[in-house]
Symmetry: C2
Subunit: 239 residues, 2 copies
DNA sequence: CGGAAATTTGAGACGAATCAATAGCTGTGG
DNA sequence: CCACAGCTATTGATTCGTCTCAAATTTCCG
């Protein structure tokens, strides 16, 4: 029998992530599955949005990783946040919005059109939660940069990624794919790649993590969370 | 003749700021003026929202300053962003939202209920722009903490405050009230108050600014912007 | 006027950056 | 299948920016 939806297994994480944010009714799920079937591939290191340019229609990241980044006058980038499967891209409410940051693909990626929120109240609610979470991650990033030292920043970011990927089934037991170079990590964390390297090695020596061939294993996420003073994220009350 | 609206002069900045964000139709302005007439006073150093607790109805900051902050386990606060007259407080779209940060009054403050967006499309648009701007300021803050040195961080933040206060008429020609201690500045910028002090003095010596009795004067905002590599903020296309 | 808060100053320590070089890995073409 | 190019990761030596601790001074406010 021919498989009608070839990407189904790849697609599950994005859908799983949205479902983890809140109940979705049948029309919403149908619309999302339909949209995902028409997902388009984009190679690594391409611009999905450019800071200051007009944003077209919002999209959903179906698979792969992207980042929000800002390029400084001196050429060095500051990575503002990571966009993972199930995250929205360019979702805003004002008319004729301009991108406040550049969005770059990190890996090969698939994205699809975002079904309109008007389609279902449950869909609108999930989008709102997703948007609120995105802001919460920005706040967490400010705190990381403002008050944590290098070792804590790395640990805290990896824990956030572990949590977020966990919601879509892309992380389990502290283990997940991390398609980032140490330099990219440095650009996110306000450090140099040399120093990130030293701190990663220290974390390895201290038994906090393993990292080989793009695979991260956090040996004890709960313990690491205590070590770096991490706080959980929640944006709405669950009944 | 008796003045019907005693706060009118204090109130203008908040209204001016909203008008600066976009056209507002008559019903929207009427509703805002009406809401502002019932503004309530809150003394300095009170919590308007508490991280993790449910947010009630959104409010508008009419006068005074507030901050979004996160308290770390070790007790030190990280200030995430400043809330100025005309800014929204607790504006979100998801059901039963929880505050992602604590909001503290810095000075004595007045706030009023936020007229519902449903009242007028122009009001909804202005709220959306305000919300998008708030996110843009978070991104700017991440960049400050991630890639600027102490001197640049201070200059860049003061320039942002100058721009934002300028939109409501509370800053003019680089001059504005700054009701913050050097310690608060340090808590926002990921520095110590000792180091903020030294850098402020250096900025004074270099002729970049004056700061006496809570009044800041940026001697040459445009030049300072070049010096710290500052980028402007814009969130939607103006026709 | 008195006391608390905020600012200022100094000396020394430490974390992270910088500069520079080496080693490992990946893919590509001959 | 090997050689080479170009990233990515690793290591070392040194410098620099910011923190820490401590104390003095000024400003603010009741």
């Amino acid at each position: 029998m021919i498989q009608p939806r070839p990407f189904r297994s790849v697609v599950r994480p994005a859908l799983a992530r949205l479902l983890a944010l809140g109940q979705l009714d049948a029309p919403a799920i149908t619309a999302l599955e339909g949209a995902i079937d028409f997902a388009k591939r984009v190679p690594a290191r391409r611009e999905l949005l450019v800071e200051g340019q007009e944003i077209g229609d919002a999209r959903l990241l179906v698979s792969g990783w992207a980042v929000r980044a800002r390029l400084l006058p001196d050429g060095r980038p500051q990575l503002l946040g990571f966009i993972l499967p199930g995250d929205l891209i360019g979702f805003c409410r004002q008319a004729r919005p301009l991108a406040t940051s550049t969005v770059l693909t990190v890996t090969d990626v698939t994205t699809c059109a975002l079904p309109p929120a008007a389609l279902s109240p449950s869909l609108a609610q999930v989008y709102a939660i997703s948007h609120a979470l995105e802001e919460a991650y920005l706040l967490a990033h400010i705190t990381r940069l403002g008050r944590l030292n290098a070792q804590e920043r790395i640990g805290d970011l990896l824990l956030e990624l572990n949590d977020r990927l966990g919601a879509s089934g892309l992380a389990e037991g502290g283990r997940f794919e991390l398609p980032l170079t140490q330099e990219a990590l440095a650009d996110a964390l306000g450090l140099t790649s040399v120093h990130v390297n030293r701190m990663i090695q220290q974390a390895r020596r201290e038994g906090d993590l393993q990292w080989r061939a793009g695979q991260i294993v956090l040996n004890d996420p709960a313990m690491l969370a205590v070590k770096v003073g991490r706080m959980p994220v929640q944006v709405c009350a669950t009944t």
